[in-house]
């Protein structure tokens, strides 16, 4: 075999890869939705006055952040059946990737929440607000803008990590490229196209996120 790019083969496999791209986007979106909610829970849990809870959540976040996602995907996928819980590749993939990124997002939220000045809390107390009111009306709205950049980066990050789901059989882009490769014994076109598709999505997405961030900052009257 040598290097020669076959255009007819490219056009033949492109529809299949684009279809799989949709799955990749769905996986990234669903994983991110889980991570956004769970991340907030993990961040808020670390701000409660219960020392034991704070400690356990803190260590959990550290553990998730310092172990490989691919290993966590395998863990979730294989350990369930060992104890009689069967999950589809999609379910276990979404749990693993959502959990992994919730740990990262909780750190982003934590930074955002810590950046809100102490005076804001005191003002809430002075106005006789409940903790819940203080969070939803005063603290979280101010914690969002500094957290936006980090949140955007992890959205692109989760998108780029979805190929790892191919190892447990989620039919996303990488999985489809592998299938095409083993059917046709041609790896040049499928793998290159996967790279191009990733670039074509992640570069504009990163640019869009930067624009969105400045828009929100301006809207909220922050420089």
């Amino acid at each position: 075999m040598g290097f020669h790019w076959k255009w007819d083969f490219t056009w033949e496999i492109l529809p299949r890869l684009l279809e799989a791209t949709l799955n990749t986007l769905i996986a990234a979106g669903a994983g991110y939705a889980i991570a956004i909610v769970l991340g907030l829970v993990l961040a808020l849990a670390q701000r409660t006055p219960y020392r034991a809870l704070t400690f356990v959540v803190r260590e959990f976040v550290e553990f998730i952040r310092s172990t490989p996602l691919i290993l966590q995907i395998f863990f979730v996928f294989y350990v369930g059946p060992q104890f009689g819980v069967r999950m589809s590749p999609w379910t276990s993939g979404m749990i693993a990737i959502g959990l992994h990124y919730s740990a990262y997002l909780s750190e982003v939220y934590r930074g955002g929440l810590n950046s809100v000045g102490k005076g804001q809390w005191e003002a809430c107390t002075a106005l006789n607000m409940s903790t819940r009111q203080a969070y939803t009306r005063i603290i979280i709205p101010q914690a969002v803008p500094p957290a936006l950049a980090g949140m955007g980066n992890y959205l692109v990050g989760i998108f780029k990590d979805t190929p790892m789901l191919s190892v447990i059989g989620v039919a996303e882009l990488m999985h489809t490229a592998n299938a095409i490769g083993s059917e046709s014994y041609r790896f040049l076109e499928p793998y290159t196209l996967v790279g191009v598709i990733f670039l074509a999505i992640s570069l504009p997405a990163a640019g869009f996120i930067r624009v969105f961030e400045t828009y929100v900052r301006r809207k909220l009257g922050l420089k």
Binding site: F3, F74, Q82, P163, L199
Partner: protein, 221 residues
């Protein structure tokens, strides 16, 4: 089989896997540092062509997945006549990927050195190379060491992907033992713990120590 029996039976395999992971980690780190320095400095060049090469490299490697890059280097590069064995392909892919992220840290670190330092070096009529090497880079290094700590944790985690091209690292060993014994919780759980200990009790303390040493050397302790 309890976890202790499991460890007693399989510890030699895990130890071998951990050794391969450590080797991949060290080689990929060295490659990433080298690439980050070169690409970071090139991005600050006044020459548009040099800058363009660096930006293209960084955007390609940061814009696509490491897994895609790894497969590309291992399966497609041989078609161009560059055949790397799996072990080399593994750390080369990881190092090139993280090097692109590191390049941004190098650029940021250099830009964070105050302008007065550049002017002072200029006033002492240092050559550009000497100015960079003796004045700017040491200060930039101190500024960028904390984010490099995080980057090295990412690098360590990413080495697990090389198991997918059959490098017999820790991840590969865990998968193999899982396949032959079906003791998933033990096999993957133990591997998770080893990675965690590696990251939290070896890499992170080492980086903290290095930060302290560098700060003292520059008299900023």
């Amino acid at each position: 089989m309890s976890l202790w029996e499991f460890i007693a039976t399989y510890w030699p395999d895990f130890l071998k896997g951990t050794g391969i992971t450590a080797a991949q980690f060290i080689l990929a780190t060295m490659l990433a540092i080298g690439i980050a320095l070169v690409a970071g400095l090139m991005k600050l060049s006044h020459n548009a062509v040099i800058r363009g090469v660096s930006v293209t490299y960084i955007e390609i490697f940061r814009g696509t997945s490491l897994l895609v890059q790894l497969y590309w280097i291992f399966f497609v590069l041989p078609l161009f006549g560059v055949t790397l064995d799996k072990f080399t392909a593994g750390f080369v892919a990881v190092g090139m990927n993280l090097g692109a992220y590191g390049a941004e840290l190098v650029r940021g670190g250099i830009q964070s050195v105050p302008k007065g330092q550049w002017e002072a070096a200029y006033a002492l009529s240092m050559s550009p190379a000497k100015r960079m090497w003796r004045i700017i880079l040491p200060q930039a290094l101190v500024n960028m060491l904390p984010p490099w700590g995080n980057l090295l944790i990412e690098l360590l985690k990413n080495t697990a992907l090389v198991s997918l091209i059959s490098v017999t690292d820790l991840m590969f060993v865990a998968k193999q033992i899982n396949g032959s014994t079906f003791l998933s919780a033990q096999a993957f759980g133990l591997a998770l713990i080893v990675y965690y200990v590696f990251a939290r009790f070896i890499v992170t303390p080492f980086m903290r120590w290095l930060e302290g040493v560098m700060r003292r050397k520059l008299g900023r302790a």
